[in-house]
Assembly symmetry: C2
Homo-oligomer: 149 residues x 2
DNA sequence: TATTGTTATACTCTATAACTATA
DNA sequence: TATAGTTATAGAGTATAACAATA
């Protein structure tokens, strides 16, 4: 029995080919963006800052979100506090807890890294001819959906 | 003066939006492929195996290609040799040199990792409607070109 | 004397286990 | 007694400096 496939959908062979090409392209672009847009933060530091951007969190919550042990998070956060990118304050309602939040500098660093990364991509899309640009414009919507699932 | 832009090309505003969405989608997909396709190798190990797949290399050449110090490469290679994925033999023409190559097991591991990663992507593309699949089919060609530039 | 590869040593990020302070 | 966070310690990965063997 062959798998169900709506009329007009990719054949199994083409599906395999497209999946492989697309997967490889995403991973290569991702690697090049990271290595060529001169990030000032290590990946785990960037990731923590991005979490805090959506709202203040405790070290424990951050550790769970980032799939890392509490002691590792203590260390990562300490580095960010030392650099003035994260603020650490005691929870007034529970003396055991600590509340972590982004500083203005943290917000600025995050924005600058994103700007540089987006620029890397924009430079390359600007070089394409209008037809290819249109293809990527439509693909960006579909890929964003795939990435978010 | 505004930048040169061929007729039909994306406006600066749309270009920024598409670049940002596409860049983020690529990075998210890349991260999820790495974390959800249960790789049996660390990224630096996979990378070394993929280099050796194209042909045997010396430790020094590998270190340069991977932008890593020779002692680090010694360590990485030792781990792969211990796992039976890489073969280390003396160069018969130059007693100082060592020649590293993939074993049959190394080839098999590499192929299995790629298969699992491609499958992650294929599962998600299969779920899309035919129109979105067609968009990604065309985009895969353009993105592969961008990634390879 | 220059080059290849490895060993010695140190720094970072990760982890688990033990400890302190608070609920 | 349970929980939040940190400190103690150890295991990978990275690096630079020093060393052995060969050209």
């Amino acid at each position: 029995m062959s798998p169900p496939r709506s009329p007009g959908a990719l054949t199994p062979t083409v599906l395999r080919e497209v999946s492989s090409d697309l997967r490889l392209a995403c991973m290569r672009i991702s690697r090049r963006v990271r290595s060529e847009s001169s990030d000032t933060l290590a990946p785990h530091q960037f990731s923590v800052l991005a979490r805090l951007e959506k709202g203040a969190l405790t070290p424990r919550a951050l550790a769970e979100l980032e799939c890392v042990s509490p002691p590792s998070m203590t260390r990562t956060v300490s580095g960010l506090v030392d650099r003035g990118l994260v603020d650490r304050t005691d929870d007034p309602e529970d003396g055991r807890r600590v509340i972590l939040s982004l500083t203005a500098d943290g917000t600025r660093v995050l924005r600058e890294i994103r700007r540089a990364r987006d620029e890397w991509m924009a430079v390359r899309i600007r070089r394409l001819d209008p037809e290819d640009q249109a293809v990527l414009r439509r693909a960006s919507v579909v890929l964003a959906r795939v990435a978010a699932e």
